[in-house]
Amino acid sequence: MIKALRILVLVLVGFHLVTSCSEEQDFDQIDDLAIAPSYETSIFYVKAQETLINRVEGLNFFTQDFNFDAFEEPFFTKRVLAGVITYELENTTSKPIEIRLEFLDQAENVLDTEIFSMDAAPTAILQRDVAYGATGKSLDIIKTTSEIRLTAINLGDNTSESTIQDPAIVLRSSAQFTLELK
């Protein structure tokens, strides 16, 4: 009897080991896994002091093309889904200022332009979010940008000086982009 019981236990354990398995699994779900993180960092910062503005005759006191290859990196251009560039403009000079930002491709064609107009100090900081992608401007602008042209125009005089310490026009910017990694 005991021997029979032992054999029965062994058979049951063996049967359990052989037949035990799992609930239904669907490994094809991995295809539905979406990985689309958003990354954020600063892009560029430009500061032009009022003393410099006063030294330059004419309206257009500053124009410069800057190489900007960050957006052209293949890793970025192949995966970018959407983005927002945030600009922050601060004017502590005694003059109204206009800033023009032009996005240029490799052939220096203008892809897009952002224009900021600021009253003379005292004035609030101007902040603008520019979206790219499905809810904003074309992503191709970003993907093909190779240079950024910055133009600053003095809409005031060349003699006055602000009483604020270290008067200047300051442009700050940061970008937030969503990438499709899978």
Binding site: C21, D32, Y39, F44, Y45, R172
Partner: protein, 479 residues
């Protein structure tokens, strides 16, 4: 369909992660010759034994202490993105591990010396061993990114992985010092096929409010990945000669190392026994095909910064390229081919055992001299039908020692069959019940063991699974 699922899940479990497994069922199961491999000081009463090549010992283990296959891949209609976030991303921590060990013994044998108190064993096995911890902050960076996380510190030290594929040759001596004490030691020669390790990382990535610009991004990195053999294997794979390369590196063509195992068995009384062993105290020097990658430095950037007044004379400069060059200089990404030493994951076993019940073979059909200590007409050490006791297991891991405690009961049924049941508690499971069986049919010895049996009704939901089996030919004949 069920079998297909079994195989698929087993395959994934076995490829999850790296470290040596706890062989708590095999430990001190001294009817099985392979118990010598985890305690060279076990009481071996064989005259000789020979493992059947490639079948004498196969063991595999895969596990994660905090997530299972079922958590993510169950066909339950829930979006995998929700499951991944709720059951992995928001739950797992850098202390949670994914690990795998596969060991294939291709040669194992032993024979008694002219001195009947000395038993020699020898053999070889290939071991693939991998351990990785959940890289929590890397996962957040990969899955969510760092947008809108001003001030959050992403810990780059979360990356800790280690893995190797090693061919091991070993030769051991087991000596019965007296009726109560048996000692053993085994020397090991490692021939590493491949190795990688990235377990000393430090640093962080953080966005904070900038001094000039909107955001300052701070990268503080001290990252190191060391590899050996991977380039050779990749090149061989491209040349369709991968098998030859693996065999060549396994047979002393790779990186070499030395190690030692030691162990003992001591009878405190007629029925109470303590044992202990220390395994894989050794190292491998990787020199032939070593390549290391490092990223080291501390940089804070706020994008391209142009002060027109300061840079008025040089505004035509390429500010973007200067920024890239500056970062690469401050936080250089370097590679080198200097050799390095890796230490084997050292393991410690200890046990206390109490025997009770009738002596094995007492008035029964014993047909072999398989009572411990019976060779050469020496004093007999009686085996009993039942044993119970406790075992301790520790292994050295990248995040510190890992511990497992086991309670066991062994039942010997005649001389042909022995069963060992275990209950183990460790970081993987608190319901780990295991069962091992040793079957002796004449000179043929077959053993099989598996643990975490309670999970077998849904193996995909388990955090841990392992099995071992083997086939030997054993002789107890007296010299």
């Amino acid at each position: 369909m069920r079998i297909r699922h079994c195989l698929l899940i087993a395959g994934i479990l076995l490829t999850l992660g790296l470290t040596a497994q706890n062989k708590q069922i095999l430990y001190d199961f001294n009817e099985i010759p392979q118990s010598l491999s985890i305690n060279p000081g076990v009481e071996a009463d064989f005259e000789w034994y020979a493992g059947v090549p490639l079948l004498s010992g196969i063991s595999a283990y895969g596990g994660s202490n905090a997530i299972s296959i079922n958590d993510i891949f169950a066909n339950d209609g829930v979006d995998i993105n929700i499951k991944f976030r709720e059951r992995a991303l928001n739950v797992l921590t850098p202390k949670d591990e994914l690990s795998t060990t596969i060991q294939l013994e291709y040669l194992n044998g032993g024979f008694r010396s002219n001195d009947p108190n000395i038993f020699y064993s020898f053999g070889g096995y290939v071991e693939f061993d991998n351990i990785g911890y959940w890289p929590q902050d890397y996962a957040y960076l990969l899955y969510d990114g760092n947008a809108g996380q001003l001030g959050r510190r992403y810990d780059l030290g979360d990356l800790k992985v280690r893995g190797s594929m090693v061919n091991v040759f070993h030769f051991g001596i087991n000596k019965k010092v007296d009726r109560s004490l048996t000692l053993g030691a085994r020397g090991k020669l490692y021939s590493a096929i491949a190795d990688y390790s990235s377990s000393t990382n430090n640093g962080h990535l953080r966005n904070v409010e900038g001094q000039n610009n909107r955001i300052a991004t701070n990268l503080n990195a001290d990252l190191l990945l060391r590899t050996s053999g991977l380039r050779s294997l990749r090149n061989a794979n491209n040349d369709d000669s991968l098998s030859n390369e693996i065999i060549g590196r396994a047979l002393f063509g790779g990186d070499l190392g030395l190690g030692v195992d030691v162990g003992f068995t001591y009878h405190l009384s007629e029925r109470t026994t303590i044992t202990g062993s220390l395994l894989d105290v050794g190292f491998i020097y990787h020199s032939g095909d070593a390549k290391s990658y490092s990223l080291n430095g501390n940089a804070t950037v706020e994008g391209i910064e142009i002060d027109v007044l300061e840079n008025f004379a040089s505004l035509d400069r390429d500010f973007w390229q200067e920024l890239v060059d500056e970062i690469e200089q401050i936080v250089p990404f370097d590679t080198d081919t200097k050799g390095y030493i890796s230490f084997r994951p050292t393991k410690l076993y200890a046990s206390i055992r109490n025997d009770f019940g009738e002596p094995v073979g007492n008035g029964s059909s014993q047909n072999c001299d398989c009572t411990a200590g019976s060779y050469d007409g020496g004093p007999l050490r009686t085996k009993y039908r039942n044993s119970y006791g406790g075992q301790l297991y520790m292994i050295n891991r990248p995040r510190g020692p890992q511990l497992a405690l086991t309670g066991f009961y062994t039942r010997r049924i005649g001389n042909a069959l022995a069963l060992k049941g275990t209950y183990t508690i460790d970081k993987f499971s608190k319901t780990n019940v295991g069962l091992g069986m040793n079957l002796q049919a004449g000179p043929f010895n077959f053993y099989a063991m598996a643990d975490n049996l309670l999970s077998y009704n849904n193996i995909a939901a388990t955090n841990y699974a392992s099995f071992q089996f083997g086939l030997n030919i054993i002789s107890w004949g007296r010299k």
